[in-house]
């Protein structure tokens, strides 16, 4: 059997437009079977893989990522990929959240300690509270995303998010953002706030966490990253800094080691 080089969502990509680039998977058969296990709903057994049909726009650098989802099932991943691509889109100069690997970042956060409720107080009393009293739901981030995404995908089962036009997708995201929609117990504005915050984090955090691939977000803004010494530069007012950004997980060859499991505790 030939290698599977795209996930099934590729078939839908044609209606989204050329601005969407794949967070493609290069899977062999064994991985594909493994990947099937993460789907929430029963699926067909793995069939012959679809041939590669898409080529990237030749004038753009593409960010082709290999993402092994540990938390998101196929439907959830499809929504997340499409959603973050609208939240921080690619443009002609700079990659967007999808290319930067934000879906991978969010997946690994939700699969790990933070998703399971690290540093989150989860005893009662349980009341909605005032806005300044902050998050008051009993859900861990993992539970929140799973619950809310399940409700979203159910609501959109006739017109999945991935098949909407970009304008329709933006409209749907704005409706989530505005609140007033109950996603199986999760207020939609709470889900949106989590999604936006996670997207920001995945875009701008150190690439050790699996996002900000190739430090594209840092290159875009000119943030040098984990690099730490500016004593000789700080009084050169207005100097343009052109150094390549540096990750905290970078070895001497410039290779960034990914380790999303760093616990959020004091050293």
């Amino acid at each position: 059997m030939a290698d599977i080089s795209r996930r099934t969502m590729v078939k839908a990509r044609g209606v989204i437009g050329t601005s969407m680039l794949p967070a493609g998977l290069a899977l062999d058969d064994a991985s594909a079977r493994e990947h099937q296990k993460h789907k929430a709903t029963p699926t067909k057994p793995p069939s012959a893989p679809a041939p590669v049909t898409e080529t990237p726009a030749p004038s753009l650098r593409t960010y082709r990522l290999t993402t092994a989802y540990l938390f998101f099932n196929d439907d959830e991943a499809a929504f997340i990929e499409s959603a973050v691509a609208r939240l921080i889109p690619k443009d002609d100069r700079w990659a967007g959240a999808l290319e930067a690997g934000v879906p991978n970042f969010i997946d690994k956060q939700l699969a790990g300690a933070w998703g399971a409720g690290e540093r989150l107080y989860r005893n009662g009393p349980w009341q909605p509270g005032t806005p300044s009293q902050g998050y008051q739901l009993p859900l861990t981030p993992a539970e929140l995303f799973r619950t809310a995404l399940g409700a979203i995908n159910k609501e959109l089962s006739k017109t999945p998010f991935v098949q909407m036009s970009p304008e329709q997708q933006d409209g749907y995201l704005k409706s989530l953002e505005a609140g007033g929609k109950d996603l199986a117990g999760v207020p939609s504005d709470v889900l949106f706030a989590h999604l936006w915050q996670s997207t920001l984090e995945g875009f701008f955090s150190d690439p050790v966490y699996g996002g900000n691939h190739d430090m594209v977000a840092w290159q875009m803004i000119g943030f040098p990253g984990a690099y730490a010494s500016y004593y000789d530069l700080i009084d050169q007012h207005g100097i343009k800094i052109d150094r390549r950004p540096m990750s905290l997980a970078e070895d001497v060859h410039g290779h960034v080691h990914i380790d999303p499991g760093i616990p959020a505790r004091s050293p």
Binding site: G134, Y231, P267
Partner: protein, 459 residues
């Protein structure tokens, strides 16, 4: 049943700045001192090293150096008519934990209070009269401290020389000094180290402030401008402006912390013992309930101990100090409705706000080059440095360009009217990130009574 231990002279609840400093003073007098720190022991080497410490997600966003909400949280409400609910994730105030406490991950901003602050009620009455004070409303609970600036000045001086604070004095023994803050309380001598280098945003602010007739001065900083050996013989290094200051420990030995300015002189003393991972449950009292006999604490394994001591020093974070007093049944809890009780009274908090200045694209601000306490500010609108008689409020604020970082998850400014997300947002971030100055104004003696000893969140 708590295991009884051999009595000591002094036990400190918490080994942060206060606990370590008091312990050093008392150990020097020959007293036997035990420090109980609920968090882990940690030191610059190996715990605070880069590049691992330069992790914005872990320390700024996930609050890695702060108290773990899973283990201990507080409830919060803005007014007594609300139901207090748990703070499930820290947002506004951030209690630290671990050896060195908050003085490990603070910003290094090192001000002295003003002369009037210590006799605030008297000062306001004398300057503006009784009617003015009454017009501020019954929620204003300011008092005189009971200790004056003049009494404290020698200790301010000692503390600044312990930390090696970098700055330029504006008033030495009543003589106004050029280049410093002319409104500051008089100092007995100059700062121990010179001011930090002025970043670009500070220089731009200075030009603007001078042109308007104000009095800009360099922010006093415990991130040092040069190498320095303190009176304990401990050596600090020069700050590298790495831009990972507040929320982070300093890997450079450049920020004053218990680890850099106190602990090496304390921990090797034979009459001092640090017990980390030991959390005090309560202060024990004798039968009169007027005298402390020691504390009960639990160690990392949950075993309970009773540590008798002649002196119990309550030296945790102020919030936790109040909590241990309440848990121990010491003193009368403050009741905001009646105004009675001292325990928990006048817990005060700082808020900041200010404009964001968007510069031309050719102006490279480089906000990532910064320390926690650099930049340039004015005190012309601070405290009672200006006439309030027609204004109907007391207090004021500093104004300055004192950016501390360019960490992008937290800092990605966009002009008003920019959409909250999407392509336009992204383009605005790319355009403005390196060409923007945020100018905070900190209200440390509030514009409304809420900031200074008045109605405030019940915790």
């Amino acid at each position: 049943m708590a295991r009884a231990l051999t009595p000591v002279d002094v036990v400190t609840i918490g080994v942060g700045l206060t606990g370590s400093l008091a312990a050093l003073e008392l150990a020097k007098q020959g007293l036997k001192v035990v420090g109980l720190e609920r968090g882990a022991a940690r030191d610059t080497v190996p715990d605070f090293q880069s590049p691992a410490i330069h992790d914005e997600l872990r320390f700024s966003i996930r609050k890695g150096m702060m108290q773990d909400n899973v283990k201990e949280a507080v409830t919060f409400r803005n007014s007594s008519d609300q139901t207090a609910l748990p703070i499930r994730r820290w947002e506004s105030f951030l209690p630290g934990t671990g050896l060195g406490g908050s003085f490990v991950h603070w910003n290094g901003q090192s001000f002295r209070a003003q002369v009037a602050d210590f006799i605030y009620r008297t000062h306001i009455l004398q300057r503006y009269g009784k009617k003015f004070l009454e017009a501020c409303g019954p929620d204003l609970t300011i008092q005189d401290w009971g200790v004056t600036y003049d009494e404290l000045e020698p200790y301010y001086d000692r503390f600044e020389y312990l930390c090696g604070v970098s700055g330029k004095s504006g008033n030495i023994k009543g003589q106004i000094q050029p280049g410093g803050n002319p409104f500051e309380a008089p100092r007995s001598r100059e700062y121990p180290t010179p001011p930090m280098k002025e970043p670009y945003f500070g220089a731009l602010f200075r030009n603007g402030a001078e042109s308007l007739g104000y009095h800009p001065y360099p922010q006093p900083s415990s991130n040092l401008s040069e190498c320095y050996t303190n009176p304990e013989g401990l050596k600090l290094q020069q700050c590298a402006f790495c831009g990972f200051c507040e929320r982070y420990a300093c890997e450079h030995f450049a920020k004053a912390s218990p680890q850099t300015v106190i602990l090496p002189a304390l921990l090797n003393r034979s009459n001092y013992e640090l017990r980390a991972n030991c959390q005090v449950r309560r202060i024990n009292l004798d039968s009169t309930r007027k005298k402390a006999t020691g504390v009960t604490y639990v160690d990392a394994g949950g075993v309970e101990y009773e540590q008798p001591a002649d002196l119990v020093l309550i030296t945790a974070f102020p919030l936790n100090n109040v909590r241990v007093l309440l848990l121990s049944g010491i003193g009368k809890p403050y009741d905001p409705k009646t105004g009675e009780g001292a325990v928990g009274r006048n817990y005060t908090y700082q808020t900041t706000g200010g404009p964001t200045v968007f510069m031309d694209e050719n102006v490279n601000i480089n906000p990532f080059m910064a320390s926690g306490a650099n930049g340039t500010m004015i005190d012309d609108f601070g405290g009672d440095n200006f006439d309030h008689s027609q204004l109907g409020f007391i207090g004021g604020q500093y104004v300055g360009a004192i950016m501390t970082n360019g960490r992008p998850i937290e800092f990605h400014p966009t002009p008003p009217g920019t959409p909250a997300w999407g392509l336009e947002w992204k383009r605005a971030v790319a355009r403005h990130y390196n060409h923007t100055i945020e100018d905070p104004a900190a209200r440390h003696v509030g514009c409304e009574p809420a900031q200074l000893s008045g109605s405030r969140p019940d915790l």
